[in-house]
């Protein structure tokens, strides 16, 4: 059913991704799909890493660990954005297409008033992606 599951990940908030991560690993195992972790970073130093190379290293470590822990085939991609506050969604959407993913699973917040005018990353990806998107609240 699915060959490649894309899992957008924020390396600074891994502790908040538990439910989505569980969903993703279970589904990946069920369908025998590859699980690909995608992160968006900037060239300037951030909380997760001091440069894109360090970010890539951390993301790779995370992907390898998940692969080893759940017996899955994993991969990762770190995307560098000029302005991650704004361009994260756009960057993720092009990464999904580029990587050839056929399902996106991501953690999102419970919608509030603000989502009527300004939806979160998950909502935007679901609204604009060509592939299926599974949002985990």
């Amino acid at each position: 059913m699915y060959r490649k599951i894309i899992f957008p990940v924020d390396l600074t908030h891994i502790d908040q991704l538990t439910r989505a991560l569980q969903t993703a690993t279970d589904l990946a195992r069920h369908y025998g799909a590859e699980l690909c972790f995608v992160g968006v970073t900037s060239a300037a130093p951030g909380a997760a890493a001091r440069n894109p190379q360090e970010y890539q290293t951390r993301l790779q470590t995370f992907a390898d660990e998940q692969g080893a822990a759940h017996g899955l085939e994993t991969s990762c991609k770190a995307c560098v954005s000029h302005d991650p506050s704004i361009d994260t969604d756009k960057t993720l959407l092009s990464a999904i297409t580029e990587l050839g993913g056929d399902l996106v699973i991501m953690q999102t917040h419970v919608p509030n008033m603000l989502d009527y005018v300004w939806s979160g990353h998950g909502g935007t990806i679901a609204a604009h992606s060509d592939v299926s998107v599974f949002l985990v609240r």
């Binding site: 390396l11 600074t12 891994i14 900037s42 060239a43 300037a44 130093p45 951030g46 909380a47 997760a48 001091r50 440069n51 894109p52 190379q53 360090e54 290293t57 951390r58 790779q60 470590t61 995370f62 390898d64 660990e65 000029h82 302005d83 991650p84 506050s85 704004i86 361009d87 994260t88 509030n112 008033m113 603000l114 989502d115």
Partner: protein, 559 residues
């Protein structure tokens, strides 16, 4: 691959920390970007802000607005007096500091340090030359060129108030044109003195700040915030109060500088609209200016929500295109051959007069040196955290030599071309029509500086069209400033994090507009301009320290 398999947290892995792109010397610090941040939620908005920096600068801004509004009669004169005191007492210090910045930049340019690349030895540029140059020019001085391009050369050429550069003779005395030799000498000096204020010195100030920020963020791995520059001097203490103070000062200078400019810019644009469409007394009340501020803030908000590439970069390029159109028009329709033949003469005059003009001591031209030069230097310095940070953000992948060439030398030449076209045309009008010219009316007869550009354009063909282009340029320059300013303030108040929630940037954009509008209504703009210029003195000292840290930082980079 990390060597440490169980390391999935954010604790810096010192042994495995890779270099950015190719060789660079990463500073080994335990500090992690955003570690002092708090993440409160206000209603549906979640924030990610640096604790003392955001809170203190936010409160100071609010308090300052309230105090200025409450005591406008006392605050205005008090701050005005402080500005006059600072520029007249410390003029030598500002001039000397300016010279040091130029020498440091030129020294780095010709030294082997010029080979170092921002972002590591193999880094590739994020932006094309055109995109990069448009952004740094729009942030650096776009709006000033609109305001002062006609005003300043015409003023120096004919000032009756005795504040001409170097105290030499002016071209027009008591409404009468002097003999041709005096007129030519006054014209050349007026151009040289103007280019001096818009040439190497201001751009050297920006270059020092921008290069330092870029180096310490992209090569050394420190957060993209002003305090990082001072790591070589203060070491780990920079993450404590010395750093908080530096960052808060930077926020203060940026926000008030922007709000003030937004207020003045709105007044200039509305004066221009009144002039073009023949609306009398448009600036008698603040109503129309406040409407313009609302429009500019609204446009800035759209630009902010479109991000760096879709907002600021796009607008900067549109502006660059419009500015080139206006510049070409003035050159082609104005006295073309006079301007072309004067250009190299003006550059020559700039380089031959730069030594007497920048000499900090033993001069008698107080009006020019203190009233103009020291004021400009304080103004550029107080703007430098904003412009420097913005330039730093978009300059990754450039070599230091390329950086200084494009941030120091090329803008100087562009400024000289702009001043030659606008100022040269204005002076030509003054020489040919003397007291009959509109420029004489707005600059010398009744001093209405915001109309000087429109006065010059009104004597060229298609004045209605070019004046509207001028107004549009002023407005878009302000939108880009407001947008890039919010980007910078947001980054500093988020402890150097550039992926903080967008709602914070929206907050700063709206707040800038509100501060500007409130001050315009309360009449506190002049006071605030004085206040933001006053931050120039402490910052000049800070920047001299930055020169030392910059050279030290560059020396430690692998070459």
């Amino acid at each position: 691959m990390s060597q440490n398999e169980d390391d999935t947290t954010n604790v810096p892995d010192e042994d495995g920390l890779p270099e950015p792109e190719g060789a660079s010397e990463i500073i080994d610090t335990e500090y992690e970007t955003g570690q002092d941040n708090i993440t409160p939620s206000i209603g549906p908005f979640s924030l990610d802000i640096h604790n003392p920096v955001f809170v203190v600068s936010g409160l100071v801004v609010v308090a300052f607005v309230i105090i200025t509004l409450a005591f406008q009669d006392a605050m205005g004169p008090a701050l005005g007096a402080m500005r006059a005191y600072l520029t007249s007492t410390f003029d030598w210090f500002f001039l000397m500091a300016g010279n040091i910045f130029v020498i440091v930049c030129l020294g780095i340019l010709i030294s082997p340090l010029g080979k170092i690349r921002i972002g590591g030895a193999d880094a590739t540029p994020d932006y094309t030359y055109l995109g990069w140059f448009s952004m740094l020019f729009a942030a650096g001085m776009g709006i000033g060129l609109m305001f002062f391009g006609v005003l300043e050369p015409a003023y120096y050429f004919a000032t009756p108030w005795g504040d001409q550069p170097l105290g030499r003779e002016t071209g027009i005395v008591d409404g009468a044109l002097m003999d041709p030799a005096t007129v030519e000498a006054a014209r050349k000096l007026a151009m040289a003195a103007t280019i001096y204020h818009w040439g190497l010195h201001p751009w050297a100030i920006y270059a020092v700040v921008a290069l330092s920020l870029a180096l310490f963020a992209y090569n050394k791995g420190l957060p993209l915030t002003v305090r990082s520059i001072f790591y070589p001097i203060f070491g780990e203490r920079i993450w404590g109060w010395p750093g908080h103070v530096i960052d808060i000062l930077a926020v203060f200078a940026t926000l008030f500088g922007l709000a003030t400019s937004l207020g003045f810019g709105a007044q200039q644009a509305s004066a221009g609209i009144g002039f073009v469409f023949g609306i009398e007394g448009i600036n008698d009340t603040a109503t129309f200016s406040v409407i313009l501020i609302v429009i500019i803030t609204g446009l800035a908000l759209i630009s902010v929500l479109r991000g760096l590439d879709g907002g600021v970069k796009l607008l900067s390029q549109i502006n660059m295109g419009l500015a080139v159109v206006l510049l070409s028009f003035v050159i082609l329709v104005g006295p073309t051959w006079v301007l072309v033949s004067q250009f190299f003469g003006n550059l020559g005059a700039y380089f031959s007069e730069i030594v007497p003009l920048s000499n900090p001591i033993g001069r008698e031209d107080d009006g020019y040196r203190q009233g103009w030069t020291a004021f400009y230097w304080a103004w550029w310095i107080s703007w430098s955290p904003f412009v420097g940070m913005f330039i730093a953000r978009v300059s990754r992948g450039r070599s230091v030599r390329e950086f200084i060439t494009c941030v120091l030398l090329i803008p100087t030449i562009v400024s000289a071309i702009w001043m030659t076209a606008f100022g040269g045309t204005a002076i030509d009008q003054l020489i040919n029509q003397v007291t009959e010219s509109a420029v004489f009316g707005f600059v010398i007869d009744t001093y209405v500086p915001e109309l000087s550009l429109f006065g010059m354009l009104s004597e060229l063909p298609f004045a209605a069209i070019t004046s509207v282009v001028g107004i549009v340029l002023v407005i878009i320059f302000f939108v880009t400033s407001s947008d890039s300013g919010s980007l910078v303030i947001d980054t500093i108040t988020a402890g150097g994090k550039i992926n903080a929630p967008v709602s914070q940037r929206v907050f700063w954009v709206i707040f800038e507009g509100l501060v500007a509008a409130a001050l315009l209504i309360g009449g506190g703009l002049v006071a605030l301009q004085a206040a933001s210029v006053s931050t120039g003195l402490p910052f000049a000292i800070v920047l001299l320290l930055a020169c030392y840290a910059l050279v030290k930082g560059l020396l430690s980079e692998p070459r």
